[in-house]
Symmetry: C2
Subunit: 197 residues, 2 copies
């Protein structure tokens, strides 16, 4: 029952927005989780919308950092794709509530923050397109690949994991990421190199 600061409130909001949804969470619900009265939240925050803005901003910034890293990263397309896969899944697992709020509740942001978030994610997706397209040119990926489509599919695969992956389970994030990367590059079929060996 200690005194709370703004960070505590935003953190609790990310948990409740992820689990109950933005519109399914009332300020009194949120306050109760913090051991406060509803009105007390307004010592830390000016509106409910602002809480959502804060959570989404934090998540956006993490993805942005990853995109920037990969944009200047040396190495093959396969290596850079691997970094995107591992990095993206790390972000999802490190703070699953923040990530789920970002993925599922961004649409409830007020303007112009919503537009900003959408634009940020577009730019993030560009990192995937760039890596895929360079892989096509280098011969690491199929040359007839629809890069835009493939980027959407890769991100669908990555983002979908937040619905079922449990960080406390037997499978580690690194193993998950490796499996995802293997599925993306080689598919489900028997590894031809393994057959050759």
């Amino acid at each position: 029952m200690s005194r709370k600061n703004r960070t505590d409130v935003v953190a609790a909001a990310s948990v409740m927005f992820a689990e109950q949804g933005f519109h399914g969470t009332s300020m009194r619900d949120l306050a109760k989780k913090l051991g406060l009265m509803g009105s007390s939240l307004y010592s830390h925050v000016v509106s409910k919308d602002e809480l959502l803005v804060d959570v989404v901003r934090e998540a956006s910034s993490r993805f942005q950092t990853l995109a920037d890293e990969v944009a200047t990263m040396p190495g093959t397309a396969i290596q850079r794709l691997s970094r995107l896969v591992h990095g993206h899944l790390q972000i999802l697992v490190k703070d699953p509530h923040q990530a789920r709020t970002f993925l599922n509740e961004t649409r409830f942001l007020p303007e112009p923050e919503r537009d900003t978030a959408v634009a940020m994610f577009d730019r993030y997706q560009r990192a995937y397109r760039d890596v895929l397209s360079s892989g096509c040119n280098s011969g690491e990926f199929r040359s007839d690949l629809d890069v835009h489509l493939a980027a959407n599919l890769v991100l669908s695969l990555l983002n979908g994991t937040q619905r079922w992956f449990n960080a406390d389970g037997a499978l580690s994030v690194e193993s998950l990421a490796s499996e995802v990367h293997r599925l993306l590059t080689l598919g489900l079929n028997p590894d031809p190199e393994a057959n050759a060996a």
Copy 2:
């Protein structure tokens, strides 16, 4: 401005629940979309929850039908997986609002309907595990495949498409499904058979 029946109300609800979320949609919002007063909805429906139950039930039943078809389907694992991919994406595209409501709003169902829906989806997922595991035994898929993990990944990939696929765009559902199937089986890497030819 014609008179509405229950089907009209449920259909409008599936649209609004998909776009605004269950908790973001008020009965008055929904009525306005139908050209009615809020109270008039209760001539067709006993509660707001009932609307969500109806939408989710319809979607569940479609997925169930697909799972049953594939369970008794002859053919190779690859052919059966292809049917799951095409069928699943067909369902998502045929009624995207119903599908999105099913995928995103099922968590807001009252009990016991929520449990029922979760159990139904578990059973649906079993169809994927069965196909994947038979493919491992037949040598169509890698024998070291983690079937449970792979089923989750395949479904993540499929369900993620509802966030970005536009049925009115240049890409048809069939082409999308074929691309997804190709990605799943062969991955991004250059097709070894194409190289051999």
